[in-house]
């Protein structure tokens, strides 16, 4: 499995498919940071933007390998492992982006304490670990939801490029806007209690739901990959 992860990570790096998600994410969190008034809001925004970015990063990975090369890897290592490695590398890339977003938020956002609190920004943040932990866990939920959206609405499950991209975008928006989605639920909860001191993790439900969502969508994607029609032309 580590060889497959290394192979897929090399494809991601060398194909430059990481550049677009990185730039898009950087722009989105910069815009968000400019419009946010508190650390909690900044962290929520950078977590929320992970959903579309990770969804498209997953798409980038699922479409990176030519059919013939994928077939060779499938024969060598099995279709299941090959597909899981592809999804895992996209998830790992998304996790790196998420961490970068959180660091960016911590360094740029207004400290949660004003007035009498310590003047040093990081020390002020350290006084409110609840906000940071909530931000981290929200980012984790959004990372999983983004990965699930990417796996569900892209090849091998949805093969038409136009339909796949539109569906990915629509599902990412729905994932953020709807309370049915774990990402939406996690964001809404922290937003309502965004009073800096009282920011708490909304409970384990969104995280558990997000993990289940990833498990189901990855299983579906892997199942489809194991039965994929790799014929590159009409001949069977």
């Amino acid at each position: 499995m580590s060889a497959l992860l290394r192979y897929q990570a090399a494809i991601l790096l060398r194909s430059h498919r990481w550049i677009f998600p990185l730039i898009a994410y950087g722009l989105l969190i910069s815009v968000g940071a400019a419009g946010s008034s508190s650390l909690a809001e900044t962290l929520d925004w950078s977590a929320a933007m992970l959903v579309p970015i990770v969804a498209f990063l997953t798409r980038a990975m699922l479409t990176a390998e030519p059919d013939a090369a994928r077939a060779c890897v499938a024969a060598a290592a099995g279709t299941v492992k090959a597909q899981l490695a592809t999804l895992l590398v996209a998830l790992g890339g998304g996790a790196l982006l998420g961490l970068a977003g959180i660091c960016f938020g911590l360094l740029t956002a207004e400290p949660p304490t004003t007035g009498t609190g310590p003047t040093d920004k990081l020390a002020a943040i350290a006084g409110h670990p609840g906000i940071v932990v909530a931000g981290l866990l929200t980012a984790l939920v959004c990372l999983f939801v983004g990965s699930a959206v990417g796996a569900l609405f892209n090849p091998p499950l949805l093969r038409h490029p136009g339909a796949a991209m539109l569906a990915t975008l629509a599902a990412a928006v729905f994932g953020l806007a709807s309370d049915v989605s774990p990402a939406g639920a996690a964001l809404r909860f922290t937003s309502q209690t965004a009073s800096p001191v009282a920011a708490h993790w909304p409970g384990s439900f969104p995280l558990v739901a997000a993990v289940c969502l990833v498990a189901v969508t990855w299983a579906a994607s892997t199942y489809a990959a194991s039965r994929r029609d790799t014929r590159s032309r009409a001949e069977g």
Binding site: A3, L4, R6, Y7, A10, I11, R14, S15, H16, E65, P66, D67, A68, A69, A71, C72, V73, A74, A75, A76, A77, G78, T79, S226, R227, R228, D229, T230, R231, S232, A234, E235, G236
Partner: protein, 323 residues
């Protein structure tokens, strides 16, 4: 390895591309798959190689290492040929120097070493095909599946691939191939699988007459069923039975090995089942090949052991006295 009523269709409402294929693929067998364009050859090969799962039936006992060469290998990956092969070596489970050595060996044998450091995107079709063949052969696979792998190769590389395919079969691997050239590997195919256009397979005897005759007359072949297989046998639909390959006690197998260092001979002699390893013969590369006589019941274990040794290659495996 065995196929049990295997069928494949690409979707519930799609027609069956391949259906009702039952066959044994014992170690050492070289099988030619033939049929018209669109008869399902490529699909059958993909199912056998595990590239795509069967829609019906089961494929069991696939060997640990499978090499698959697709009919076209467009260089769409962001690597050089050598980088790609090093990745594939690791995916096949060859770590460190073993992987590097295997990559160099196959690039060299196929005549692709001079182009291996160029990006895959810039390589010609033939050169890409050599890279695709190399990745399949890296682990000395127990199952080698070649889908028109010869297309686009120069003559030297075609010869090298012929040699590699027969070498795999001789060392106990199963080889399946499709090629539009009816003369491909003439005299080596043990069986021909003919796809009849309705997705069904008719299993015919191959043209490897000496080997079949040898097998028929050889008690190590075992069963009456095996003896019945021969050039004269008529076409048969469905399963080829290959009953127990374990021969009775007292039978001896001769294994010819290349690359055994003198220091390893004593180690060879101590392997269980080895009766004699003093003999050598002149190999085709001008080197002395070691001839080992092994009790038939232990031959699989001995082969497995020596294949793990550095630099050792199995040149042939034959019933004693057949050479």
């Amino acid at each position: 390895m065995r196929l049990q009523t295997v069928g494949k269709r690409y979707g519930v409402r799609q027609p069956w591309v391949v259906r009702d294929v039952s066959a044994d693929l014992p170690a050492g067998r070289l099988i030619r798959v033939e049929g018209r364009n669109g008869s399902g050859k490529s699909t059958l090969l993909r199912v056998v190689a595990g590239v795509t799962a069967a829609s019906a039936g089961r494929v069991t006992g696939r060997p640990a290492h499978t090499g698959y060469v697709p009919e076209r290998f467009p260089g769409g990956l962001p690597f050089s040929g050598r980088e790609y092969l090093l990745h594939m070596a690791r995916v096949h489970g060859l770590r460190g120097l073993a992987g590097v050595g295997a990559v160099d060996e196959w690039l060299d044998r196929l005549g692709a070493a001079g182009y291996a450091d160029q990006p895959l995107r810039s390589l010609s079709k033939g050169m890409c095909q050599k890279i695709a063949i190399s990745q399949a052969l890296l682990p000395r696979p127990g199952l080698l599946v070649l889908d028109e792998a010869w297309t686009g190769l120069d003559q030297a590389a075609r010869g090298a691939l012929d040699a590699a395919a027969t070498e795999r079969a001789a060392a106990g691997g199963t080889v399946l191939f499709v090629d539009h050239d009816p003369g491909r590997l003439a005299g080596h195919a043990d069986e021909r699988w003919r796809l009849d256009g309705d997705g069904r397979v008719t299993i015919l005897p191959g043209d490897n007459a000496p080997r079949l005759a040898q097998r028929a007359g050889d008690p190590a072949g075992g069963s009456a069923e095996d003896s019945a297989r021969g050039p004269a046998r008529g076409p048969r639909r469905g399963t080829v039975e290959d009953s127990a390959r374990g021969p009775a006690d007292g039978l001896v197998v001769t294994i010819e090995l290349a690359g055994v260092e003198d220091g390893s001979v004593s180690r060879l002699a101590t392997l269980p089942g080895v009766l004699d390893c003093a003999g050598t013969v002149l190999g085709w590369a001008g080197t002395g090949n070691r001839v080992v006589r092994v009790a038939a019941g232990h031959s699989d274990d001995v082969l497995r052991e020596v294949l793990a040794w550095d630099g050792v290659r199995v040149v042939s495996v034959a019933p004693d006295g057949a050479r």
